[in-house]
Each structure stands twice: as structure tokens, then as C-alpha cells.
């Protein structure tokens, strides 16, 4: 294939992709948004986080496998939990994106963020997506109980100044089963 032909194909592809991507979204997508909003409501409340902790907690997996001696059942549980964890991560991403695309209400007398503030917000947004992608990768390929996620204790996020001594909800293996 000659380079000229290759570049012509690429040029054509660019036009097609841009035409597809710049189309306005149809009504169905808007209603999907509403459904998604309903599903992710409360995701970051105590109950939602408690559920996530329970999904990612390996206690009952080890209890089934080591104490009761049902390794195949434990594997099945792990597999189900992996699917749940992936669904939860997708819901987290939807929830986050919903917050990100909330337009700033400039008309209500609030000044738009300055340049430096905007870069800081973008850094936090990208940081979240990076970490979430990493979590997707780990959960998909290594399962929900793998401990590859690094400790980021040294980070100080705005709004996280208060000490958070209590967990969102202590997982309880007995209640899980």
C-alpha cells in the first residue's frame, strides 16, 4: 500500500469519525442519562460505600474456602463478586461523570474558577480517572480481592481534612452469607 493511498484513507476516516462524533445525541441517550442518574444516586452515601466494601472484602471468601472447606463455592463467590465489583466501578464512573458535566452556574453570582483553579480541578479529575482505570484493570484481570492497589496515604485531597476514623461499614462475613 502506497503512503499516498494510506493517507487518503486516513483523511477519509477522519471525516467519517468527526461527522459521527459531532452528531447531536438522540433522545434515547438523554433518557439513559436519567436512568443512570437514578441508579447512581446515593452511591457515595454510607450505604453505597458499605456495599462496595462488602463486595471487595475477601473475608467470606476465605471463610468459605478455608474454614468450611468449599473451594469451588468460594471460587464461584469470587467470580460473582468480580462481576459486581465491575458493575459498581461502572456506576462510580457514571456518577463521577455526571458531577463533572454539571455546568457551572455563572448566572448566580458565583465567579468561574480561575486558571490555576481550573488546572487543579482537571488534575483531580484525571487523577480519579487514572485510579479508576487502574481499579478496573486489577479487578478484571486479578479479581476483586487482589491487593495491587497502592497505598496513597501521603495524598491530601481538598475536603478531606477531617479525620475519618470509622469505616463506611464494617463488612461482616456472617451477614454476607
Amino acid at each position: 500500500m502506497s503512503p499516498a493511498f494510506l493517507y487518503s484513507i486516513i483523511g477519509l476516516l477522519i471525516i467519517v469519525v468527526v461527522a459521527l462524533l459531532s452528531r447531536p445525541r438522540h433522545e434515547g441517550a438523554a433518557s439513559e442519562d436519567k436512568i443512570s442518574q437514578e441508579h447512581v444516586a446515593g452511591l457515595w452515601e454510607g450505604l453505597g460505600l458499605s456495599l462496595a466494601e462488602r463486595i471487595l472484602d475477601p473475608t467470606d471468601y476465605y471463610w468459605l474456602r478455608d474454614e468450611l472447606g468449599f473451594p469451588s463455592l468460594a471460587e464461584s463467590l469470587r467470580h460473582k463478586r468480580q462481576h459486581l465489583a465491575l458493575k459498581w466501578l461502572k456506576a462510580v464512573r457514571s456518577s463521577f461523570n455526571e458531577m463533572v458535566r454539571t455546568p457551572e452556574p455563572i448566572s448566580q453570582g458565583r465567579t468561574p474558577s480561575g486558571t490555576e483553579g481550573s488546572w487543579q480541578l482537571l488534575r483531580l479529575t484525571l487523577r480519579f480517572h487514572l485510579f479508576l482505570s487502574y481499579a478496573f484493570f486489577v479487578v478484571r484481570f486479578f479479581g476483586p480481592y487482589h491487593r495491587l492497589i497502592p497505598s496513597l496515604r501521603w495524598t491530601q485531597w481538598p475536603g478531606s481534612a477531617q479525620p475519618q476514623s470509622e469505616p463506611y461499614g464494617a463488612p461482616n462475613a456472617k451477614h454476607s452469607l
Partner: protein, 250 residues
């Protein structure tokens, strides 16, 4: 004849866009785009004058004008990126990051390295323009891809601006690649026709898209009160990050 007609049409449509935008008082909303358009039209007029009265200076003038526009187009992409993400505080600078990042990366690995190769100047120029046009096409696709990922509304004006520009860049990529491969004798006449036609197509799309100014949001009317939360956005972003980090640290 076809080229002359194309140049005339693009001048008329370009001038029409300017008049329409001035009438609607929205020149300040697209400042760089209008500067680009004014420069494009003004140099087009000077182009014709130089060709008529000082033809020996024409090639020099043409390439100076052309390379100025090639560089200005990168700045135009910055403005397009700003327009796409401006209403959303958390990703307001995303367009700039994408544009600057891809420009820097492609300059290092794709646009600049062929310049140090020993080859005829005409081939080097064609190759440079082809590569920079492709880079701009990639930037446009990346901007739109990210806009689609966040499901942000483009609006008729910005969508048309992007579409026209992408069509121009895509045709430029193919046109300069074909000229580089087949040479002046074989492809020269087609090359000198396709270039002005692609510019005319671009200006035509811009005219249709910018005929009426339609802002993406009417903030006071469209932002529902239940979506306006009292907690500052940095705090909410921080909480998301903290909650996720804590969860996976366990």
C-alpha cells in the same frame, strides 16, 4: 476557472460569516476564530494583488501566508477545545491539555524528525504540511472523543466549526500526500484545484453552522436548581478521590 470561482465563493462566504457574527454581537465569543478569518480573507485579497502586479514575489508570499495559517490553525484548535469544555468547571482546561499534549507529542515523534532528512525542499514542505494537517485531524478526533466520553453538548456552532475544519484538514492530508507521491507533473493541476475547493467547503460549512449564534447553555434557564449544589466542586472532587482511595487501600 474553477479555482477562481472557488476563491470567489470562499471570500463571499467568509465575509458573510463575519458580517453575521458582528450583527449578532458574538465576535468576542470566538475571538481567535474571527482573527483567523480576517487574516485568511485579507491575505486572500493581497494574494490576488501580488499575483496580478508582482508575480515574481508570489511564491514567497504564498508560502509565508500558508505557513502562518498552518501555525494559526493550532491556536484555533485551542479555542475550539475551550468552547467544547468551557461550561464544565472540572474539565474546563481539558481541551487545552489535549491540544497542547498531542501537538507536543506529534511534533517530537512525527512532524519534526523528517525535517532533518536530506531531500528536495518542495518534498519537505509537502510532507510537513501533510503531517501537521494529520496532527490537527487527530487533535479534533481526540477532542470530540473526549466530549463524547463526558457526554457534553457541542452545540450547532462548535460542531459546525469542528466539522468544517476537520474536512479541510482531512482533504489537505490526502492532497499533500498525493502531491508528494505523484509529483508536480502528474498531480500538480489536481493539487492546485483541490486545495481551494477544500477551503471553500470548509468556509461553506462554517457559514451554515455560524449563521445563527446558539450558545450551548442559557445558564439561568437551563441549569436546574436541583443540580446546583452548595458544596464547592474541588471539595466534591476531593471526596470522590478520597473515598475511592480509601476503599481500595483496604
Amino acid at each position: 476557472m474553477l479555482v477562481d470561482a472557488a476563491l470567489f465563493v470562499q471570500f463571499v462566504f467568509g465575509f458573510t460569516i463575519l458580517v453575521r457574527m458582528i450583527q449578532q454581537g458574538c465576535v468576542s465569543r470566538f475571538p481567535f476564530f474571527h482573527s483567523y478569518l480576517v487574516y485568511f480573507l485579507a491575505t486572500g485579497v493581497v494574494d490576488v494583488c501580488v499575483f496580478a502586479w508582482a508575480p515574481q514575489q508570489y511564491p514567497t508570499f504564498f508560502w509565508i501566508k500558508f505557513f502562518t495559517l498552518v501555525i494559526a490553525e493550532f491556536a484555533l484548535l485551542l479555542e475550539i477545545g475551550d468552547h467544547i469544555f468551557r461550561p464544565y468547571a472540572a474539565i474546563r482546561k481539558l481541551g487545552r491539555l489535549i491540544t497542547a499534549g498531542i501537538t507536543f507529542l506529534f511534533s517530537i515523534v512525527y512532524i519534526l524528525p523528517p525535517l532533518i532528512e536530506a531531500r528536495p525542499t518542495s518534498i519537505a514542505i509537502l510532507d510537513l504540511v501533510k503531517r501537521s494537517a494529520l496532527t490537527k485531524g487527530v487533535i479534533i478526533v481526540a477532542l470530540l472523543g473526549m466530549a463524547r466520553f463526558y457526554r457534553v453538548r457541542l452545540g450547532r456552532n462548535v460542531a459546525g466549526l469542528v466539522l468544517g475544519f476537520a474536512a479541510y484538514m482531512a482533504i489537505n492530508t490526502a492532497n499533500f500526500a498525493l502531491a508528494e507521491s505523484y509529483g508536480r507533473e502528474l498531480y500538480g493541476p489536481i493539487f492546485s484545484t483541490v486545495g481551494p475547493l477544500s477551503q471553500t467547503l470548509c468556509v461553506l460549512i462554517w457559514t451554515m453552522a455560524l449563521w445563527r449564534f446558539e450558545p450551548v447553555f442559557q445558564p439561568a434557564r437551563e441549569i436546574a436548581t436541583d443540580r446546583v449544589v452548595s458544596e464547592p466542586l474541588p471539595d466534591r472532587l476531593g471526596k470522590f478521590n478520597t473515598a475511592l482511595t480509601r476503599l481500595f487501600r483496604k
